[in-house]
Amino acid sequence: MSLVQMTATAEPATADKKQRKSGLGRYTRPALGLLLPLALAAGWEAVVHFHLASGRLVPPPSVIYATFAELAATGELQRNALATLARVAAGFGLGVVAGTFLGALTGYSGFMFRLLDPTLQALRAIPSIAWIPLFILWLGIFETSKVVLIAVGVFFPVYLGVTGAVASVDRKIVEVGRLFRLSGVGMVRRILLPAVLPSYVIALRSGLGLGWMFVVAAEFMGASEGLGFLLVDGQQLGKPAQIVAAIVAFAVIGKLTDWLIVLITAPFLRWEDRVRTDTVED
């Protein structure tokens, strides 16, 4: 294709894009993402409704909704969701504190990096689920071992994000701080913290994602309550709708907590020079 042709075809495409952007508006554009899941759900509902499939192993949306409503009405759902949320919160808190502290230390000091990073990287190479038996031996089968497992999952993305971000703070910007004779604390507060915040938010979000992943593993290893318990219980008693309801609850709460991080940090990140501004709230 010649250059002339390329520019000729490119132009209407961009014009088209612009038009569509303004045409769809800010409310309809996010709705576009709902189209596929809604269509699939409606399709499956119809298939089961017209008895083309039994829907016993793959319950249709109406059954899942009914189960969900029932679990909510008895308070089962809230109790289990709260138990899981509490574990994630404790593990996330621990993991974030440790990851931030060690990340800042190794990012700031080359000596600390050479001292600690190889060990931490070696530990990171271990699939964290492999720790479960050991944690149970050491910490028992109750809350402590679960929280520690989640903390381990959260720790690594946070540590990696923070150490990378701190180490790569632009020397030129740090020099501005030095020229204005900032103290150590001032340098951290006014230069380093704001500079690492965007990567820190990303690190927190991936940490939280792993936290949600690991809470399931933790609850599989034996729990009497929690969304993971609902999963195991649903499997053992042959209640697929309960399993799916628990999965939906995971998805909703996971998304909500992630969104909470974005929401809380957004005011501090308005300055960011983004290529696409529409990825912020996804």
Partner: protein
Amino acid sequence: MLTLDHVGKTYPNGVRALDGITLDVKPGEIVAIVGGSGCGKSTLLRAISGLDTPSQGRILIDGEPVTQPHEKIGMIFQEPRLLPWLTVAENVAFGMEHLPRRQRAARAAAALARVGLSEKANAWPRELSGGQAQRVAIARALVPQPEVLLLDEPFSALDAFTRADLQDHLLDLWADLRPILILVTHDVDEAVVLADRIMVMRPQPGRIYEEITSELPRPRDRQSAAFDFVKRRVLAALDRSLAKPATVDDTQTTSSQGAALWW
């Protein structure tokens, strides 16, 4: 009064970037430093700023040795280096944390007005053009009222019109408090427009090779014969500084080409 006393700098990799630089700058004086690439101009400015320490010699401001960034010395770099997370006004106020909020805001607003950017006070740095961003950097550096302002190729990233505009602007701002200006530039016109004294440096090791004083009256007319005369002197000096390098130069730097190729 700024004094450089036999300042030398050898980098850890063994490069002798500066050697025996001795210089006295009177209050209010504008000094331009020109010279080929790699002759140590930035190294010299960073030493004066206190960001780097010289390996030999001393730098004194009003008799006080400069070993780290000093409140009487400000610096402007080739890039604006604004903090992207602060608004334009907050960037200008960056060096005044010790002042009460009200006073800080007032002084930042005044400084912004002085560089003609009042309407950008609440903009983010990313929303500025290159020339506007550099003006904000100038405002930020001048707000603490330094006695010495160091400028390392401050306008070299800008187009010719913006550059001439900012040179005039800088002189205008300089006239308020008349700090010492030490300006590194690759633009001979810029050096002649601004400076009272033009130091021509020579590399390996970086030394002051020639000093040209210019007593052109201000404001300076870039078209005048006197301007042209000073400019020719600077070009000739640059030419000489490059024609006879301290080390054996195997390229064909003839003296007629030197002036054209000195950067």
